[in-house]
């Protein structure tokens, strides 16, 4: 079987339709499990009380916001270098989900900041770089929206995404660079994590749920983009979509 045939939007369209439930249903289950573990199993925090429980959505959302930007840049780069339309469409589809997670992490961060720091917004390094990340997403989306020719929009977006991706390491290292009140990273890949096991479990389950949700939503949006751009292609004309 030649997997490259799925790089054609028309071939991928029905495949994407079949894939969506395989991501959407596990995502819903994991959200339910993760929220249950987060709210009822994980112990109350010694310092922050129950207010800390917002991290079960805040931290996965912040991770997704950064990862999706990198993923978007990679897809846009592939679409640009190999002239692959489907990859470029994928990048456009990811952008909105990424922007949504960025907004979500900013809003939950503000709600968490009020009881713990006593303020909704502090000009802390990570918050500021997340805000900049949101601006970068907005730039990408509005550049693509301003260009009428879809092929030019894909390539221009790719240049912008690749230039902007320099910002993502700055976000990651900002905690070390600028010395501020945001707490340091509590999850380390090497060494023992400094949080309780149920908390970590809930956070990882929520992260998995967010990933599956992103894949499902991006595929749905990808199908819409394919329909919109390829509406004149004979394959769709026959079906009458």
């Amino acid at each position: 079987m030649n997997i490259y045939k799925y790089a054609s939007p028309a071939t991928f369209y029905p495949v994407a339709g079949k894939m969506i439930p395989w991501f959407a249903i596990p995502s819903a289950i994991l959200f339910a499990v993760g929220l249950f573990v987060g709210f009822f199993v994980a112990p109350t925090d010694f310092q922050q009380g129950d207010a800390y429980r917002i991290i079960f959505i805040h931290v996965p959302a912040a991770w997704m916001a950064m990862l999706l930007y990198v993923l978007m840049a990679i897809y846009a780069g592939i679409g640009w270098t190999f002239n692959a339309r489907l990859a470029s469409m994928m990048a456009s589809a990811i952008a909105i989900t990424g922007a949504m997670f960025t907004v979500l992490s900013l809003v939950t961060g503000a709600l968490w900041g009020k009881p713990t720091w006593g303020t909704y917004w502090a000009w802390d390094a990570r918050m500021t770089s997340t805000l900049i990340l949101l601006f970068l997403y907005i730039g990408f989306i509005s550049l693509q929206a301003a260009i009428d020719d879809p092929r030019r929009a894909d390539r221009a977006g790719a240049v912008l995404a690749l230039v902007g991706v320099i910002n993502v390491p700055i976000i990651y290292f900002s905690v070390q660079w600028w010395n501020t009140l945001h707490q340091g990273a509590t999850i380390r890949i090497l060494g023992k994590p400094s949080i309780a096991a149920p908390m970590l479990a809930a956070m990882l389950i929520m992260l998995a749920a967010c990933w599956l949700y992103s894949v499902a939503v991006v595929l749905i949006r990808l199908r819409c983009i394919i329909l919109e751009r390829e509406q004149n292609a004979s394959r769709f004309a026959e079906v009458g979509v």
Binding site: I138, L143, V159, G164
Partner: protein
């Protein structure tokens, strides 16, 4: 080739001196508006001076970005430049250098003068001058990518600010940081080194990105 491009753009700019002057006046007026809006307390003005001067410099340099490629695009020169056997990034470097000389250097020169309005001491004025001298090439270089991407688009002027201003933020942080450090009496060297590093990195990468963006926009 490089020299020819720079020379040509400088000549064109010289024949339209009013464009150049309007950028400088914009900078001076924006900076002067802040004391009027905030009040004349010396201490407060001194605290906000680095940020105000730097933000005004960002806005002023962004205003002039539209002219970087737009005129050549409209009269077809840019298309001819793309067809020359010389590598496109040389053309881009030349045009960006000319833009820096025309639009940014006057701001750098006048900045110590507007700094006086905020009661900055001579050492700080020198640091302000140095930070702008190191930081404005970053603005021109990054801005050229945005200018190339938005070439010929409707609403290009607003769009370019959405694309470019977030990318200016590191330069703003460390540029204003250097001046602030000098006001606080600590060494601004670290900030200036980082600004210099940004200038080097952006001069390595952004001409290629701009060249790619120009090819995309002119297809």
């Amino acid at each position: 080739m490089l020299r020819w491009i720079v020379w040509r753009d400088l000549m064109l700019a010289w024949r339209r001196r009013s464009d150049m002057l309007s950028t400088v006046f914009f900078f001076v007026i924006v900076v002067s508006l802040f004391p009027l809006g905030i009040g004349p307390e010396t201490q407060l003005l001194r605290t906000i001076a680095p940020g105000v001067v730097w933000v005004a410099a960002l806005l002023a340099s962004m205003l002039s970005l539209g002219r970087l490629f737009a005129n050549d695009y409209q009269d077809g020169t840019l298309e001819q430049l793309l067809l020359t056997p010389q590598p496109l990034f040389l053309v881009v470097i030349g045009k960006t250098l000319a833009h820096w000389i025309v639009a940014e250097v006057p701001l750098v020169l006048i900045a110590p003068l507007v700094g006086l309005q905020f009661n900055l001491d001579p050492d700080t004025l020198l640091i302000l001058f140095a930070s702008l001298l190191l930081g404005t090439p970053v603005l021109s270089l990054i801005g050229s990518v945005g200018a190339a991407l938005t070439l010929g688009l409707r609403g290009g002027g607003v769009l370019i600010s959405i694309l470019v201003l977030p990318l200016y933020i590191p330069a703003l942080i460390f540029g204003a940081g250097a001046v602030e450090a000098s006001i606080m009496g600590t060494s601004p060297a670290a900030h200036l080194y980082l600004l210099g590093a940004f200038a080097i990195v952006s001069s390595l990468f952004s001409p290629w990105a701009t060249a790619a963006a120009l090819r995309i926009s002119l297809e």
